[in-house]
Amino acid sequence: MFEISPAEWTAILLSLRVAVIATLVATPFGMGLAWLLARRDFWGKSVIDALVHLPLVLPPVVTGYLLLLTFGRRGLVGGFLADYLGIVFAFRWTGAALACGVMSFPLLVRPMRLSIEAIDRRLEQAAETLGAAPWKIFFTVTLPLALPGVLAGMVLGFAKAIGEFGATITFVSNIPGETQTISSAIYSLIQMPDGDAAAGRLVIISIVLALGALIAAEWFARRATARLHGN
């Protein structure tokens, strides 16, 4: 009964690849932004904060369409990248990764930001009196103490990326083997008369992946608290 067909495997593996790449590429940007939002006051901070959260509240189809306008072949950025660097997003799995990265970004940044805000800044001051330059303080005090939050952000972002649908299908369509992720495969299957069994299998896999990610994120968050209390 629970036999996964090659076509389904293709969608599952593509989803995993898209979500892994999206998460890995988004993490350093997310961490940098989380640090800026947690630690610096600058002009336009609330605008940046709102922009980061925009994909959370905007209809995904709007985000996808904006990505198409910007990163499509004829888009301002997409045209430049394609002509000068040979990087194409439109109707490619890389575009799916971009859409997933953008859509999951708010979820990825938030735990990182909260974990940096929770760090006692006096510890960083103590590190400085012990001779640590600012970048060393970041890597020896800030990052290790924020690490569980960073991982929690990555797990949440990954979970969101693996389930992303609206922006992805709008931006890169639903091409089996190239841009057809679990979500878009389910969408196609439930429109076919005999697709229920296959759709059911992918639905179960989605639930397992999402639940697993949430449990992992919760576990990391608890680790973070224990770490800050020095146990």
Partner: protein, 220 residues
């Protein structure tokens, strides 16, 4: 030698302090709100004076006229805070080693052993700060500051967070440090008895001004 001549406006409070100390332990004495911590934070470089100069061991670390402000991490000072501030993600041994690593100093096992013995913290090395008592934490913080080989050790009410019993437990270690560790100290306190035991010179602060300076007798 420590030479301080600084001005700083902090809200309504104005600090204007000037003193030179050659003593082994310079006691900064004053009521809370007299500006002791601000002054120590300026010596540490955590706070920047509006005007003035700070010279540690002949090395100008602050001179507003010449636009000099050496950042804290390059001042080679040690700082023991009232709330030990040990790194919770590191065990005691790693906390003790932190300053040496950050300053890229070669391991000095003789000094390491001497300070661990002096402070009696050998039994705590593999514990996490969360599992230490207040007094133990403060001893580790002292060791951590000393092992970074500072040329000046700043102590801001290091006994302030401890109850009477614990204070009496730590005080002898501080006396030993003064006599054996060979690092000049600036010791902040509002406790006359503590300073009588430890300080060799007193700077008395009142509402941001130095009101008297001299030997321990100025406390009476």
């Amino acid at each position: 030698m420590l030479r301080v001549d600084v001005e700083k406006q902090l809200g309504d409070f104005s600090l204007h302090a000037s003193f030179t100390s050659e003593g082994r332990v310079t006691g900064l004495f004053g009521a809370s709100g007299a500006g002791k911590s601000s002054l120590v934070n300026m010596i540490a470089g955590l706070l920047r004076p509006d005007r003035g100069t700070i010279v540690i061991d002949g090395d100008v670390v602050d001179d507003t006229a010449a636009r000099i402000h050496v950042p804290t991490y390059r001042r080679r000072i040690g700082y023991v805070f009232q709330d030990a501030r040990l790194f919770p993600h590191l065990d005691v041994a790693q906390n003790l080693d932190y300053g040496r690593r950050m300053n890229r100093l070669a391991p000095d096992s003789a000094q390491h052993k001497r300070i661990i013995d002096l402070l009696d913290i050998g039994a705590l090395l593999d514990r996490r700060p969360g599992k230490l008592s207040g007094g133990e934490r403060q001893r580790v913080a002292l060791g951590r500051a000393l092992l970074s080989k500072p040329r000046l050790l700043l102590l801001d009410e290091p006994l302030g967070a401890l109850d009477e019993g614990r204070k009496l437990e730590i005080l002898p270690y501080l006396v030993r440090l003064r006599d054996e560790a060979n690092v000049p100290m600036v010791y902040v306190s509002h406790d006359v008895a503590e300073l009588r035991q430890l300080a060799t010179q007193i700077v008395m602060l009142k509402q941001g001004r130095v009101t008297s300076f001299g030997g321990v007798k100025v406390l009476s």
